[in-house]
């Protein structure tokens, strides 16, 4: 096959990219779970998270960081991205969605509101931060760390994948074990029954947006380490993360993670067979095929309603 020679190399870079998709996909899937709403403005949460991390790292302006400083820089960048992402998601819910919910608006209104908010944030960022790519200042001395099956793993890939993994596990535990997780799952399965159990649905919705925003914002920074930060970076990455969420089964937390990883790898292997110009075509071809052949995704809807 066309990718036999560099199979492992492509798989590794695919997993690193896919773990970023997975982090973003969780934001789509969590919000869909509690609201049956695709928050299309989530791509801008990701983008602003990237800028949050970038500005912090730039602001600190540390030359040739290494060791503990590098770890702190990466952690700080992720935290800044996560916080700005969470703040953006929180604001989106309050401004773009909650007023519509109060009025019992039809679904189409939410979709239009989402797209409007997305365009607004995209263009605001373009105007304020410039319409060009901002490479992340070096956070550590990047290089090859070790090799697997003859494929080189770079520091970047390791940092991105490991950070994503920690966050994915943390989220999985939050959903499974905490009171907030119980609230989110109960609202996703039967919102009215949840309110009869004393769950404040509005509060759960707000916290779900914040949780998705934390992950999406941190993902923006991780993406920025690899590819730089740009005002329109959310469009492609966000749409692919949405694809990943659908691929795994929208509303399904573990499905979103699996979808992200599968998509990241499939995209990279596919590129090896044709050319890199086909990267996005491959991703969206997967979306179309999933929607046609298995609309509930690979794992089906688990967080959401059973009926």
């Amino acid at each position: 096959m066309c990718f036999t020679q560099s199979f492992w190399q492509l798989t590794i870079s695919g997993l690193a990219l896919g773990s970023v998709y997975a982090l973003i996909a969780l934001g789509y899937t969590l919000v869909y779970g509690v609201l049956q709403l695709i928050n299309f403005a989530h791509s801008e949460v990701f983008m602003l998270g990237g800028f949050g991390g970038l500005f912090l790292v730039r602001g600190l302006g540390i030359d040739n960081p290494s060791g503990v400083t590098s770890v702190l820089l990466v952690g700080g960048g992720m935290l800044a991205g996560a916080l700005l992402g969470a703040a953006t998601a929180f604001t989106l819910e309050r401004v773009a969605y909650r007023p519509l919910r109060r009025r019992g608006a039809p679904r189409l209104a939410f979709l239009i509101s989402a797209i409007g908010a997305s365009f607004f944030l995209l263009n605001l960022a373009g105007k304020e931060f410039g319409r060009f790519n901002n490479p992340m200042p070096p956070l550590y001395t990047s290089g090859k760390v070790f090799s697997v099956f003859g494929a080189q793993v770079t520091t970047n890939q390791l940092v991105v994948a490991a950070s994503a993994l920690v966050m994915l596990i943390a989220l999985d535990r939050i959903i499974a074990k905490t009171r907030l997780g119980m609230g989110i799952r109960s609202v996703a399965q039967d919102a009215e029954a949840a309110s009869l159990m004393g769950v404040d649905i509005d509060k759960v919705i707000t916290r779900t947006f914040v949780l998705g925003g934390l992950l999406g914002g941190a993902a923006g920074f991780l993406f920025g380490i690899q590819f730089g930060v740009q005002y329109n970076m959310g469009f492609s990455a966000g749409t692919k993360a949405f694809t990943a969420a659908v691929l795994g089964g929208i509303g399904n937390v573990r499905g979103a993670v699996m979808g992200g990883l599968v998509l990241g790898v499939a995209e990279n292997l596919g590129v090896a067979c044709v050319s890199s110009a086909w990267r996005d075509v491959i991703a969206f071809l997967i979306l179309v095929l999933v929607l046609m052949l298995r609309p509930t995704g690979l794992l089906g809807e688990r967080l959401g309603r059973s009926a």
Binding site: M182, S186, E192, S195, L196, M197, G198, V199
Partner: protein, 239 residues
Amino acid sequence: MAMLELEDLHVKYGAVEALKGITLEVNEGEIVTLLGANGAGKTTTLRTISGLLRPSAGRLLFEGKPIHELPAHEVLGIGIGHVPEGRRVFPRMSVLENLEMGAYQRKGGNKEVMERVFDLFPVLSERKTQDGGTLSGGEQQMLAIGRALMSRPRLLLLDEPSMGLAPLIVAKIFEIIAEINQDGTTVLLVEQNAAQALKLAGRGYVLETGSIVMSEDAATLLSDDRVRAAYLGEEIGAA
């Protein structure tokens, strides 16, 4: 003072009036049943008490305080538990998690209540780790009642607990409702199964197209010709 008082309560769905001014009360310690055909407004009444619906006019008092403006998630906190029509257990949560959801607002100290629930429904204790959605209808009803008990309600609203269940299971569930009542929980029971409900309850109301048409003690309702004809499936004069 009655525990729960509804006074000339009106509820509308858009332009349609589902409750046309109903007045009823439930005293502490009682089992009161609300009878009526499909669409009479029984479920609407319970949903309004629980804050899922807003009355358009009238008064709704619990322990003397107006509660018609409280959102559903706060009504539970003042001591009203609601077992909704169709049971509505969380299908993809375990039995244990479903019960924990019932105590969502309580901070700790649920062990005692949970033991009581397992005491009342031993089958739930056997199925702790099973998903709610995989239980049989009767077990789901038990779980729904157990879940509502977890919040230690003083008033329990039960919406058609017999729906779709075999007579033996229904009898068992009604027995347990009596036991819950003896534990000190007041019960407002909505039922289509009038014969069973009237054997359990002390008093009953009959609801027809949004209005209360009868309010009597259970024995009187059981022997009333109109009730027998309409809700017990007997022909007038046949007995």
